[in-house]
Symmetry: C2
Amino acid sequence: MPNFFVKKLYHEVLLDITPTHEEKKREREVVARVLNELKPHQVDPILVGSTAKDTDLSEDKDIDVFIRFPPETDLPTLKLQGLKIGKQLFEKLGAEYEVDYAQHPYVKGTLDGFKVEIVPCYKGDKIKSSVDRTPQHTEYVKKRLQEKPHLKGDIRLLKRFMKAQNVYGAEEKVRGFSGYLLEVLVIYYGGFTETLKASSCWKTDEVIDPLSHWSDKKTLKYYFTNSDFIVIDPVDRDRNVAAAVSRQKLAEYIIHAREFLKNPSKKYFYPEKKQVKDGETLKKMLKSRGTFFIAFKFTHEKLGENPLYGQLRKTESAIQGAFEDEGFSVFKTSIQSDEENTSIVLVELSVWSLPRIKHHLGPPVDAETRHQMRFHQKYENENPYLKDGRWVVDTQRRYTHAREVAHKIMKEKAGFGKRFRQMKLEILCQEEVVAAGGCGWLKHLTQYL
Amino acid sequence: MPNFFVKKLYHEVLLDITPTHEEKKREREVVARVLNELKPHQVDPILVGSTAKDTDLSEDKDIDVFIRFPPETDLPTLKLQGLKIGKQLFEKLGAEYEVDYAQHPYVKGTLDGFKVEIVPCYKGDKIKSSVDRTPQHTEYVKKRLQEKPHLKGDIRLLKRFMKAQNVYGAEEKVRGFSGYLLEVLVIYYGGFTETLKASSCWKTDEVIDPLSHWSDKKTLKYYFTNSDFIVIDPVDRDRNVAAAVSRQKLAEYIIHAREFLKNPSKKYFYPEKKQVKDGETLKKMLKSRGTFFIAFKFTHEKLGENPLYGQLRKTESAIQGAFEDEGFSVFKTSIQSDEENTSIVLVELSVWSLPRIKHHLGPPVDAETRHQMRFHQKYENENPYLKDGRWVVDTQRRYTHAREVAHKIMKEKAGFGKRFRQMKLEILCQEEVVAAGGCGWLKHLTQYL
């Protein structure tokens, strides 16, 4: 149990982050308007998410409404109707809205300061698409919190903690902990402090099975092959609730949990504000690193957040790979987007200039003869020689400067995210990169450097 | 069996490389003088090597005489007496001589145009030092050649072939095939062509056990752990006759064997003469590679050939390692010595300039806490951060140019051969390296570039 000082700390934070009665009232009104508006449609609307579970934070004004279609509806109809109903709703209520993509496309808009999402799904126990589980998740958490209502505060504390540490959110932008995942953890470990304590000892390939759905946890790594960190969904033993959590965000969370327990303080619940440096200062800092910077600046139409960050990361890794394939060394890369029309992949190189000649390794002398023949035919003009039992040629490197590779990457766009292949693309080098974006970009560079 | 054309070729080469009667007579006279001179001493002299076996080439004027001490002699006495007797012999006969080192020190000098080596060893069947086997080797080969005298020509052909391809000689300078090794092979395979045919299919981890001393060849790799290529000594099942053969020389031999069989020609028996390029041409060629050259030039007293090349190679690998440890990329290295007073390690770099900052990887977040603590204490001023679940710092690189590393290497001499640590050492960069040595060096550079 936390000591007096820590209890006082939790109390103060909770006072600050728990929605007031006034807020709750306004929230209920918006929900009522939305549900009322949905009545005429042949869909069964249900309030899900933290609002439904009473685990929302006062600054979070998210209202998630799932509209449930009969199981016999075909998927194209569900998608089409879902979008149509969503759009109609916001139009009728005179609100701004846009379409984003998760599993399906869905509509989100703003009503009275609340972000409202209208997500189509299937009704019934049979899970036909991954969002169909959300109502079950809401149900599970609500039930547990009816039994132990004090955990609501613990969930709010962990959510705020994770938000401040920038590890909250399963979406592509963050690749961190979903609200449901942290609720499952708090319910399983029995509180905020208890969760942090357990987390601080986690391995980065931890396997957690809260309801002991599986008799042997060890084999689960072979079942959920795409993730290291596994938390079995209490409502579905075949689902990893932590599938979206990147190793990076997991590690950051573990470290913050440790640090907090060692020295609990309010600052862990409030994001640190860093003074953004001006362009001239950034240019100087950038130059002083002695590395070589190349920014790939994409100009585009507005994209949904999930496809935007998903494809931006894909593009980042394709760009890094292209430099490395040509023998250059990438020191670090990073991505930033204003989420409107400019997205940037920044590449910092520690080796950006290479001699014209390079070694090219061939087969060993005791490899199959045809492999050796092929190598010799290909490089007959370049005098293959032997080195430690292997054929080698000193052949011509195609690109001797990273700038040339950057232009090749720009031309070929190999491995880029689908939408990124069509975007307008510019290359900026060295100090020029500071001018690639607006103030969000300067903030990003301040953090990077 | 070789066809008519090939038989004719062999015949012509043999005519050229087999010592004439006249040569043999002179050789016998020198041997007689040496043996006569050794008579008064309490040692049992024996003629060993190719002269004794009648497998010598006409241009090779090597006479190896082993002087055998009683088994009860202690090693220091054997070494001391061995040297003393050797020196006295050459002094008495008024010949130049010098001391070289293999297993023991020994004396070598020149008599009537023949290189004579006087090597001390133990008499008797019990092997007390590795040279004690040499008389047994001579005995073995002589016996086999009495049974099949025609193999003498095949041995001479293979020896000449290997010499021309620069893979002959077990000494440190070459790290190739010893005379005894190639004799064992020709006896085992039954001829020159037969040996080449077998060799052209060798793996670089071939195991050959000519007299089937071992029931299972597979396990021998674990017994002779220091070599990939193993040929069991017919006179000693615990010895690898091929221990000195480097992977490089083995591979070169295999390839030449293949090429010769495909297109047999006289040129394989005569070393290719390459026109040495002049300094100005070499400077231009060197510059055009776009790499960075650093030569380490050692000035020294005359050293025995074996310690010289052994320690020079050790020094070469220490220098390469030192550059790589600091993050620079070595393209190739090579060594050259005039075997008098100048030895050179040449380093060609493909990355020779690096930014001041570098990544330094620390422990993962789920490693033992004390490892993480130690990392944090060490780098607390450098803001450790997380990358894919591991601690990382961007820390200061000590050396940003290979030239600085070269000076550090020159100062520390870490890992250098023992004698090389005391030598005078200069560093030459880029085009300067052409001036590092004499015409042997220009020849070496011509081959290198």
